[in-house]
Symmetry: D2
Subunit: 369 residues, 4 copies
């Protein structure tokens, strides 16, 4: 007889691991299937900035969802450490979102109107972080936009799920999902399993499942290149952010600089030209970074949907089949919220109606207009 | 209009790259599709021993095919260097296949009867390689079983094919191959192309294609773990071989020790226990290797068929569709022969009938009996 | 005019960085000189077990010093994070010091008599850690023998010192220290500086300074080889310890296995034979570790003195010259205590008289007899 | 009794290994002492361009010496492979020294007058290498300025010397050399040896020996930063060279881009700003290199003397003591010539008088004026 799971998760990135964790907490029998290693692709390439405020441009629907997910991290940190002994390196200090021009300052007005955000002028910013470029006009200071180490979160969620009973199948590619009478058949090279619920959480690699499930949804890659430097002199206490690029301090003494945006590039390695752009932009934020030692360079493919918002929800017609993919620049931030939302959908618990509408698979362009 | 290729190769390991090379030499318009990097999986994990003699137990069919492929390397080395500027590091010296017991010596009798193989007693062996264990009875010396660096061969064949006009699509997974009227449609996340001929050369990852093409053939993994050491003292001039394990000298001063055989393990990383076994066996062949510095450790998944011989040939029913996969322990050795055979099949040239029969997809168990 | 420091520290391992930190806290003008990178040698090779109890055999003098240093870590963790933003990954859980025989159990009697240590029988141990070998009789459980990541501690102390005003000169070898009238002249390839106090904290590389300062003290290397594994299944909550070997869980999901003891070997790389020994011993403690994925392998040279205790104190004749070197297996554990003791000696504060006697440079064999 | 060597070489970079090799060939009993690994510092950071023509500005003395050394490589390649089984990857194709302006073209006139050098106009250059910038005026083509892999040469010379009887002591720092009656005493942490001849070949790290030997000679570092890229598309058949920067094709499919010139920087790691400069300059030579994948980044410290020429010769007063250090940008190119010259000096064979004068330790500024 085939192995049976209440829920099979396809994909062991941070989204899949979060779903596995929240379902395992609810005592479902969970199997997670990952073609490589947990968090080995898009997840481990991310810088881990939890930019609920700094990355949001839609305050109506997206911000509350993101903010909710961000707050979950403050609980998760302890839960993960206790279950898996893994430290997610939640790094406080928050973000300085820099403005160099009056135009940039004006664009941040609605952001700065939030109770959790303050505008600081150049003097204030530089007196706190003396290495920031003196050319800034000021910065929005967002204390709650902390950062984590994405790989650690992903592994931590996965192993915690496993401690709670989930089964993690790494190096196990799912090549087909077939509807049966009351369950799904999950086909892998290592054999077949059955599951009542299937959640496709394969990020950029979800397209073949969309296609075989009769959905026209597609996800395209937006490559992001990154590098790290070793900060031996001055300590950077805040993440610096400008024009979608950032310098994130890590708690091991390094700084992560990211990230470029290269549409439709499937190559998972950074290019020379991408690295050059990162250095130029980082020096604009923090001139002395040019003197620091380069650490490593890497790249990851962000999964982008047509409206840059994730697909989270049920297949419009097939009972028991769900999707959670396409988190673009915000996979780390949205992982806990996504995990909880999928868990609630499966368990029949209440889910915020606006979010259900906004992220549903079958939505059309107007939603976020 | 869709891009058109005369031949689309699915898989950029050494087999796929060899096929691309031999087809490009014949002026076919070739497209190669690889989900990661050229040679990034099974190929780069191999030690690169060209064991036409030492690995063969079937002198009737398999040996001539292997030997033919081995001889091709002596031409390929120069062709690849001239076209791609890549050096495949063909390392001469040959193999000492060691015997510790009379039984092992006896089992090598038919091997030693070949004109290209000599039996050397312990004194002769040790006077040439003073570091070999004094416990041996002797060794079969096979001068022609040289070695290459598999990753270099694969990249060299790929880039040479590209210089001859082939198009290499790395980071491009093929998720479906559909028969059309006179061509095949190759579906990838980056778009679709058309091809008259399709060759599935995806090694272990060919199963989903077998399945979707209506074939019951399957390939299973046999994981092989390896490690390298830095040889700072004595120089090892021959590959040592015993019970399917080996110590292969590389031309950069390292020795490659391989390889374990772990059936049905899809995990691509070496285990502690596997590394321990390798060390124990290597010390049995060359006691002082225990003093050498460990370099790196790695693993690869060998693609094994039901009879341990590759599938090379046409789909039994579908015109224009071919397979070249399942080379088990001998992918590096057999790559040139496989590339030529597929090329000849596509171009309608003559192919040794015994080989066609022995490697055909639809064969049953009796062939190699 | 030459640059002047109140105190020049020679050596940027964990001992030198700790001294720099405690002196900088006291507002001394500190310069630290390191020939490579902070913590790049012996420090980063250590597993980071703070074995005040498990590593001590002298309860009279050494234990109180070690215990004092251990307790300092619980304060340091926060101080370092606040000053340098570096997390030292202090990992709780403590040590299980395993006994397989009645003899081993008996040898732990005095250890178990300490109020901070408990004896657990096999059932208790295995019910807490199901992966421990069922062959044990039991274990001494030492909750306070936690672990840290040595490289992080070292960098954290160094950068914290720098934030407090110390100057860190990496890649700056000191090749001579010359006594002048009231100061010392420190010669480096990058130029000369003056200092009132000089502390030689160069670990194994202190011998040339002993010699040029007219001391017959010598430090010899005891190489320790280590490896790490990725623990994907079960979580290990305690460090396992047996016959000076250990398995230490890290908060990133890895386990560190160490360490061999190879006397008088200056080679800084692990040997094949050393790795084999580690695996054999680790499997004895935790059989299923053989299934885990190997991470990396490395080695470090422990600085051993004639009586295995460090030299901490003043040069017997030369005013202003101090030594802090030779911490053997316990450099991480003893770093805070050593830093404080040197700081107190320089500032003329009180220092425990027993410790001064026990660790003084000019001691002879009888001290720890 | 102490171990005795005819010649002790201090330093296991490419210069020291070359000296060891040429002395061992002459049947001297040679001991080589290296504080880390063979070729682990400046040597392995070099790109390996043998720029006898492209790097020379003194055609009278330096060029013949360099050219002589260059020609030696064509013999060495085979000798090293036979003795050590190491392939030095001698890569043919030569150099295109690019000119973008009439001024640059004019500066190459004397170079192009050499019989081994040709001027090619832009069309000729680009028809051979289509990826070179169309902004060039042309290039000097120097077929003989081939390249090697420096680490392989160094290891190959070292192991070949060892096969010929030399003893290589890695991880063995020499901290003092003392003149005795008829020999020298070499002091290392691992003990003392005696030698009739001592050759200091410690590159940048020779200063402390100069000082203790009463010489005022000094060597200062000029840091060079490098990076590699993976060339997957077009094949580059020539090294490109412009304003002391270069793109060197390697025979493994990578390109090495180097190198910056940072005076008096002892830090051995590349900085962000240095990497940026390399990318900008490389794109000027070969615009499409911006699209290529970055491989690794590294740096090395070139040993520069007051007149940028090496010190090769005898101590002016102390019999039996020789120096071979300070090869600046040309250590790889000059290694064979230096090894032979030192060997000839020790054996009392004839040495070109001009070279002896030009490279002698006690020279003053006028020599190369």
């Amino acid at each position: 007889m085939k192995k049976y799971y209440d829920a099979a998760i396809i994909g062991g990135g941070i989204i899949g691991c979060s779903i596995a964790y929240y379902l395992a907490k609810e005592n479902l029998k969970v199997g997670l299937f990952e073609s490589g290693e947990l968090g080995g692709k898009t997840t481990s390439a991310a810088a881990g900035m939890l930019g609920a405020h700094s990355e949001c441009d839609d305050m109506n629907i997206f911000y509350p969802f993101a903010r909710n997910s961000q707050l979950e991290y403050f609980k998760l940190e302890k839960e993960i450490r206790e279950l898996s002994k893994i430290d997610i390196s939640l790094c406080k200090g928050g973000i300085y979102k820099l403005a160099y021009t009056e135009k940039e300052k004006k664009e941040m007005e609605s952001l700065c109107a939030l109770p959790t955000v303050d505008w600081l002028d150049a003097n204030q910013v530089i007196s706190n972080e003396s290495t920031i470029s003196p050319l800034i006009l000021g910065a929005a200071y967002i204390e709650d936009d902390v950062s984590v180490v994405p790989e650690a979160v992903c592994k931590g969620l996965g192993i915690s799920a496993s401690v709670l009973g989930a089964e993690l199948h790494e190096y196990t590619q799912v090549y087909d999902i077939q509807k049966q009478e009351s369950t799904y058949l999950i086909k892998t090279p290592a054999g077949e399993v059955e599951a009542q619920y299937v959640v496709v959480a394969s990020g950029l690699w979800s397209n073949s499942f969309f296609e075989s499930m009769g959905l026209s949804n597609r996800i395209v890659p937006v490559k992001g290149e990154c590098l790290s430097v070793w900060n031996r002199g001055t300590v950077l206490n805040h993440t610096l952010f400008h024009e979608h690029q950032y310098i994130v301090p890590r708690m091991n003494g390094s700084l992560v600089i990211g990230a470029t945006m290269v549409e439709n590039d499937w190559n998972e390695r950074p290019s020379l030209g991408g690295i050059e752009k990162l250095i130029v932009h980082a020096k604009k934020m923090m001139p002395e970074i040019g003197e620091m030692e380069i650490g490593s360079t890497w790249a990851g493919l962000r999964p982008q949907t047509f409206d840059k918002k994730p697909f989270i929800g049920r297949h419009p017609e097939q009972e028991g089949l769900l999707f959670a993919a396409g988190h673009f620049r915000n996979g780390i931030l949205l992982a806990p919220g996504t995990g909880k939302m999928i868990s609630n959908l499966i368990l029949g618990k209440e889910v915020n109606k606006k979010w259900r509408e906004a992220f549903k698979i079958e939505r059309r362009h107007e939603v976020f207009a």
